[in-house]
Subunit: 128 residues, 2 copies
């Protein structure tokens, strides 16, 4: 999802919990969409992401934590079965959202400061 990371304004976090495993806005958004849709394919589709890519991210999260964050029901591995957050999955999502809110507050003034120094209008993209 890093390819679309510049689309919406504001802060995006990437928290490297240990070398090789990070939790970021993309994974958190996916967890939240799973919670809202109860379906991995519907959740992935929300971000224009393939089912396979969504499943890879879920598998990575499930493997990194002591218990799975997402439970899948029959047909889970490719069959488009249901998916739901486990208790730990909900905890991790909520904790991440709280961290995001705390970080947002922490950098809000700096973001305003930096924006003051941007060019008034976006540069014409066809200009070098």
């Amino acid at each position: 999802m890093s390819r679309t990371a510049n689309v919406s304004e504001g802060l995006r976090l990437r928290i490297v919990l240990r070398p090789g495993f990070a939790l970021g806005t993309g994974k958190a958004d996916l967890l939240q969409a799973i919670d809202e849709t109860q379906s991995l394919s519907a959740a992935a589709a929300r971000f224009g992401m393939s089912y396979k890519r969504g499943w890879t991210l879920v598998r990575e999260m499930n493997a990194a934590f002591a218990e799975p964050l997402v439970g899948t029901e029959k047909g889970g591995s490719g069959g488009g079965g249901g998916a739901r957050l486990t208790e730990l999955g909900r905890y991790v999502l909520n904790r991440y959202r709280q961290m995001e809110a705390d970080a947002d507050s922490a950098v809000a003034a700096g973001m305003r400061d930096l924006r003051k120094h941007l060019k008034p209008k976006p540069a014409n993209r066809s200009r070098r």
Copy 2:
């Protein structure tokens, strides 16, 4: 630089200052390396980045802000001439580092909480 984003532990910020332009740990690190080496090619090499990639990032930053963040001396566009931070470049780097420190403090407790729930040892990568 997102390809190496998982290597070092901790928080990485990505601040989307407006749609299409973000400032993140990668660009900040590049600015700092330019300040330390006074050379874009030496700064880029520090991250295993091509001169061309470094120059693309610098040009993007210079175009987004009201004034350039990096000034280049003769031979600048490919000739490996000197590079240095402008006054605005130094301001942006320092402000970003302060935001990073503030965000780090804001998420430190959450990071500890999440790490408690990781698997005790990294999962064996050859295992499914």
